[in-house]
């Protein structure tokens, strides 16, 4: 581990906020990008903040068996998956009462721009990809985001998610199959 980062961790453990601030500065963008691909945009900042608050509160439990970024990523992933589960839990009764509402909103697509430039097209495709990600099981989504959005290796993804590398390969394969199927439906002539 980077000696400077180790120093910040030691100081942050004893309550040194500026040292924790350095850790936040270093990993802020990475964690925000991860959360934005794992959770609804409107929830991203809250989840980002809760991730760092939990990290600050839990620094004493960080045993440096993995890198700080891996540990932080694990907290962020857990935050996102828990948020998703809580949302599912909250929707449990309404889902049974009015299942059609959710289904309709899922099918609702943004209005197409008649003369989109390349960037707008990519952003539109990204939105479709995010919608496909929303429909993946939590574990597959986490594996996909870590691998393809965050650029982790399969070994790193396995370490972060606490699974075997073979399981991650299989999760990634299934995730890609599902995403392809959904994207094909959208772009089929």
């Amino acid at each position: 581990m980077d000696p400077l980062e180790s120093e910040w961790i030691i100081r942050a453990r004893s309550g040194d906020l500026p040292a924790f601030g350095e850790l936040v500065n270093r990993h802020d963008g990475y964690i925000m990008r991860l959360i934005r691909s794992m959770a609804p945009q409107e929830e991203a900042e809250d989840l980002w903040q809760e991730t760092f608050i939990k990290a600050f509160a839990g620094l004493t439990a960080f045993r440096e068996e993995s890198s700080f970024r891996t540990w932080l990523t694990r907290i962020a992933i857990r935050q996102c998956l828990d948020h998703r589960r809580q949302e599912r839990w909250k929707r449990l009764v309404p889902l049974r009462a009015a299942p059609s509402g959710d289904a309709e909103s899922l099918l609702e697509l943004p209005s197409p721009d008649p003369l989109p430039d390349q960037r707008a097209v990519r952003q539109e495709m990204w939105r479709h990809l995010q919608r496909a990600l929303d429909n993946l099981p939590g574990g597959q989504r986490a594996a996909f985001v870590l691998k393809y959005v965050q650029g982790c290796t399969i070994h790193e993804v396995a370490e972060i998610l606490g699974k075997a590398e073979g399981t991650i390969k299989s999760d990634l394969f299934r995730a890609m199959q599902r995403i392809r199927a959904q994207m094909q439906q959208l772009y089929a002539p």
Binding site: G15, A57, D82, F144, R180
Partner: protein, 328 residues
């Protein structure tokens, strides 16, 4: 034309950059001569590039700076605390950072207590609640609500009558208790609804069946979770076990309605059979009697035979027949 099934995993790993040189060359050679796999590979590559670019995730520098400032302000003791959940904060006598440290130690202690629970004296109930992650932790002026989710394992020890549920807060927590404890039932319900692991969901439903058989009742959350499984669960083994939970309970009108719906409309014959048996076991089959004519036309021959046998039993029993005709 469909892509070659045997090559699909390799093509995915190829785009993930996880193949050695030999395997990569092999995939490239295959792609040169197989148009279907080439098309699939192009799609996978496009999705991988799109994810790597993530054009919707660009971070605005000013926004990033502002959120870091908000975080630091929120972590600074003395400033108004931002609560992370709508639950009210509990006043804690310790200073925030010491409280956070104490909470972590207590959670670790709780883990040990769980592991060696049989040899340890029962902890104070308030302490137990904190150990099991049911109370918020106050750190640096913040109330962090522990997550009661992400259940990893459910076990039942028939000898002691204790359930053991392992789940996460920031750290792993192990909750032990009997089936009549609301926290145990709540965590079982969450395991059924939240977990992506079908084996874990099955263990949770089995535990619920044990509680149902012991207590002849379940908390509302657990019943809702059973109902959720019956309507949404993909794994048929889990659904079958959910019906067995209902069978272990007294036959209320709601349970009867649910079982009848399964008998008449479920696609899985094993599940229809289980629900049929559940109804037929009560009051000599009277519960299912109005539907026997429909069930006698079921696509499952076993169910048709069961329906005919039950019909004969009912018709042969003079007392039951008399009762039924009086009701009609």
């Amino acid at each position: 034309m469909k892509p070659c099934p045997k090559m699909q995993l390799a093509i995915n790993l190829y785009h993930a950059g996880e193949l050695d040189d030999g395997a990569r060359l092999e995939v490239e050679r295959h792609l040169e001569r197989c148009p279907a796999c080439r098309e699939a590979a192009e799609q996978i590559g496009e999705i991988a590039r799109l994810a790597a670019e993530a054009p919707g995730l660009e971070d605005d520098r000013a926004a990033a700076s502002a959120r870091r400032s908000r975080l630091m302000a929120a972590l600074t003791p003395g400033l108004p605390a931002r609560q992370t959940t709508p639950l009210p904060a509990r006043p804690m006598p310790l200073q925030p950072l010491y409280a956070a440290l104490a909470a972590m130690l207590l959670v670790a202690f709780g883990f040990l207590l769980g592991r060696f629970g049989g040899r340890q004296p029962a902890p104070d109930p308030t302490l137990q609640a904190l150990l099991t992650g049911f109370q918020p932790v106050v750190a640096a002026g913040h109330t962090v609500q522990p997550e009661l989710l992400n259940v990893q394992r459910v076990r039942y020890d028939p000898a002691s009558g204790q359930f053991e549920i392992t789940y996460n807060t920031v750290n792993d927590v192990r909750l032990q208790g009997t089936g009549n404890q609301p926290q145990v039932q709540l965590m079982l319900a969450r395991a059924m609804v939240d977990s992506d692991n079908p084996a874990l969901r099955l263990h949770a439903v089995k535990a619920a069946r044990t509680i149902a058989a012991q207590q002849q009742s379940l908390d509302d959350e657990l019943l809702q979770a059973i109902d959720y499984l019956l309507s949404k669960e993909q794994n048929q083994g889990v659904r079958l076990m959910a019906i067995r939970v209902l069978r272990a309970l007294p036959l209320t009108e709601t349970i009867k309605r649910t079982l009848v719906q399964i008998v008449l409309h479920d696609e899985n014959p094993a599940l229809r059979m289980e629900a049929f048996d559940g109804l037929a076991a009560h009051a000599g089959g009277r519960e299912i009697e109005p539907y026997l004519q429909t069930i006698a036309k079921d696509s499952s021959s076993s169910l048709r035979v069961k329906a005919r046998t039950l019909r004969q039993t009912i018709d042969a029993g003079p007392v039951r027949s008399a009762e039924l005709s009086q009701e009609n």
